[in-house]
Symmetry: C2
Subunit: 450 residues, 2 copies
């Protein structure tokens, strides 16, 4: 990442001379993301000093755009009281994520200085397991009573607005915090002309909600389906617990996409970013699958030994082994990846298995014929006779067909069994095609060459 050095000398000058007015101006003039960018070249201590010139809510917002490692360092090493004040202004879900990376002692120190209501929010969020709706929700939602009029609601909302992460939906709750309805700010604003109508008249009672223990991937799918800006999280009794906002959903979508890609390449999904994962963890998450694939590979070694006599009589057959098993593996990996991606996007489901398999066999036939035609000339060049040479294109045609067939049937089967179809990784398909390819090759060679 490029470090933005444009403002650095001026910022340092301002800090040195204690130019309060100018530092305040710097904090408020730009979008908080840009403010954070301009502070990139400063040391942690300097950044922290500059931050203190921003009002606490803005301070928390600028802080949210710092790199994750820097955020952790600040929470660890800066003044306890200032850090605690910052934490009260960070959305509770983000605060929980950050605190989870600090040592237990520091967390207790800091939380002791956080006002009780915020501390309660943080404690409650900490109880939801990672990957659930509860763990990514924020407890700060705009909640109003249904008996309010449009005028009263607007006034109340106007007092809450600055403190809340999002005010684009207003949730209507009764006295015991049961969710009764939802109202968009758009609806409220467009009712300004009828200030005496009540929220109860305007609100929508058909509310899309998620349970606090629902999987975050399910949450993302629902939000995408209904094109929501935020979704309320409730417990079993429909008590309003919090909301999940569109930006957290976007993070989930990105995270799940990355995990799928990693699974497809036979890497156990990393919990952290690639660059922050230790080499030992990387080796473990990869070695696990490489080990499994290795034993699949061993079968080929024993199969080839079993076919020793065939390869001794026709030594030239050996030359085409990598080409043949590669063609099968590649076409199979294409198929399984296409199907895994289509299932993840919700475009196909396992009930369409028949249609998928027919499509893949047809595609495999076309691809097999194409690769077989490419293989004919080199086979004629390397094989002892034209008749013998045809073994190679014929094998490639069959192996590509087997590749697309198993590449399509296995993710479908995995889904049916309730497993993640992305476990049907490219290397796994390739491993299956290694064995299949060799068996098909020798069978055809035997039949044709005797």
């Amino acid at each position: 990442m490029m470090v933005n050095t444009l403002f650095l000398p001026e910022l340092r000058e301002m800090l040195a001379t204690g130019a309060e007015e100018e530092l305040r101006e710097f904090c408020t003039a730009l979008h908080p993301a840009r403010t954070a960018e301009f502070m990139e070249g400063l040391t942690r201590e300097e950044q922290w000093k500059v931050l203190q010139y921003a009002e606490p809510p803005l301070r928390a917002e600028i802080f949210s755009y710092f790199p994750h490692d820097r955020q952790i360092e600040m929470l660890l090493h800066e003044n306890e009281k200032q850090v605690a004040e910052l934490i009260t202004h960070i959305p509770a879900d983000d605060a929980v994520d950050l605190l989870s990376e600090l040592p237990e002692r520091r967390v207790e120190q800091l939380l002791a200085l956080v006002p009780a209501p915020d501390r309660r929010d943080i404690r409650r969020l900490q109880t939801f397991p990672e990957g659930t709706a509860g763990s990514i929700m924020t407890t700060e939602a705009a909640c109003l009573d249904e008996r309010l009029t449009v005028r009263q609601a607007l006034e109340k909302l106007s007092r809450q607005a600055e403190r809340l992460e999002t005010i684009y939906y207003i949730y209507v709750v009764d006295d015991t915090n049961h969710l009764r309805g939802v109202l968009s700010t758009r609806m409220l604003v467009s009712s300004i002309g009828k200030p005496e109508r009540t929220i109860a008249e305007l609100m929508d009672t058909d509310i899309v909600t998620v349970d606090a223990y629902d999987d975050q991937e399910k949450v993302a799918q629902i939000v995408a389906k209904y094109d929501l800006l935020a979704i309320p999280v409730v417990d079993e009794q429909r008590h309003m617990l919090g909301i999940i906002t569109h930006d957290d959903v976007m993070d989930v979508v990105r995270e799940e996409a990355t995990e799928d890609v990693q699974r497809i390449a036979a890497v156990d999904p990393l919990e952290d970013s690639y660059i922050r994962t230790s080499i030992l963890t990387l080796a473990r998450k990869r070695g696990m699958w490489l080990g499994i694939l290795f034993f699949a590979g061993l079968i080929t070694a024993f199969a080839l030994r079993g076919y020793e006599s065939e390869f001794e009589s026709y030594a030239w057959l050996v030359w085409f082994i990598p080409l043949i098993i590669g063609s099968g593996g590649n076409s199979g990996a294409q198929t399984s990846t296409l199907i895994i991606a289509a299932m993840a996007a919700g475009e196909v489901d396992s009930k369409q298995w028949w249609r998928i398999i027919v499509r893949e066999i047809a595609t495999g036939g076309l691809l097999g014929l194409f690769l077989a035609s490419l293989a004919l000339t080199p086979a004629l060049l390397l094989a002892p006779s034209a008749w013998a040479a045809t073994v190679v294109p014929l094998t490639i045609l069959f192996v590509v067909l087997c590749g697309t067939f198993s590449g399509s049937i296995l993710p479908l089967l995995f889904r049916r069994l309730g497993w993640d179809p992305a476990l049907m990784s490219n290397p796994f398909v390739a491993g299956i095609m290694d064995i299949t390819g060799i068996v098909v090759y020798v069978t055809i060679a035997r039949a044709m060459l005797g």
Copy 2:
């Protein structure tokens, strides 16, 4: 997908008896997405009839939740005047997408019936190439004059609110439509207490914008970076052209993730969903890359022929070929996929190449030692002597190291050359490792066995 049949008999009954009141109630009672779901089992004609009982804006919203194919059928076959009315209520960007799939003649017929301002919007959006910001923007944004007071702005916004896709940012433009500032509805609502302040005093002039010709992937990155709900699209003179909303950005993120996955499996990205892509197109988009990989595979055939004498003297070496090249290919594919995904997520860039390569060589060393230790026993079983057997684990160690090294250096190189690193597909890495693996194997065997 499950067809929801709960309401079907009632709906058909209502249509048969012309129960206007009840059909209106059905259209308004639920979230439009659910209304569309409950209509799934109806025929196209029945669905269209039910839709006519909803007010046009709601009608367009319910329509937006129908499956894509059904939408196209309706635009093709239903009454022209009704279809044209529907089109005026669909956001212009979605209308352009739908119209692009109709025959030219039908488009002209329909657009002739659409009011001139909406038609102009559609015509203008049609000029932006697919994949650009312009092609996914909507022209319906809340635009206000900076001279308005808070009170006036709220009133004006309340009249616009129902018609607009989103009102969560208010864009401030001058008389010639130059973008001057932006104001969140949250800010406006929280200023209700000071109704005489002007928009000019409240608005933010540091606006994050995108150019209409910017790539949609860039738009998605900016929106994610600044956590925006919508981003304004401007031309070179900073004229306000439209906005891109968070749900369109979510679609872009999903689309780009799917494309990356397809590229990683050596499939040229599909323009349409997997299930809607014709078999011929599928075969073409896959055959292209399979053909290229095939020629890489051919090199292995000629290499193996070149090593004929080695494999004749030590026939057992042949048995381990698939295992060895598979281990190299798998570990290389893991590395390249991890790096491609990390680059796509913006976690690493090619300036960190040195750190990445060092990490991968270290990881490769660990993985290589692990697989080599697994290979020792089978090699001892199959090789004629203990000394000869050590060729196999030694080769695996080196091949895995080569795999992680080339898996890391190639995506970095691709990025440096300005290519898409996802072109460094798993099959491509596997192809490179096929050749490398064989060369390393024979070199080590020669050195050790003479």
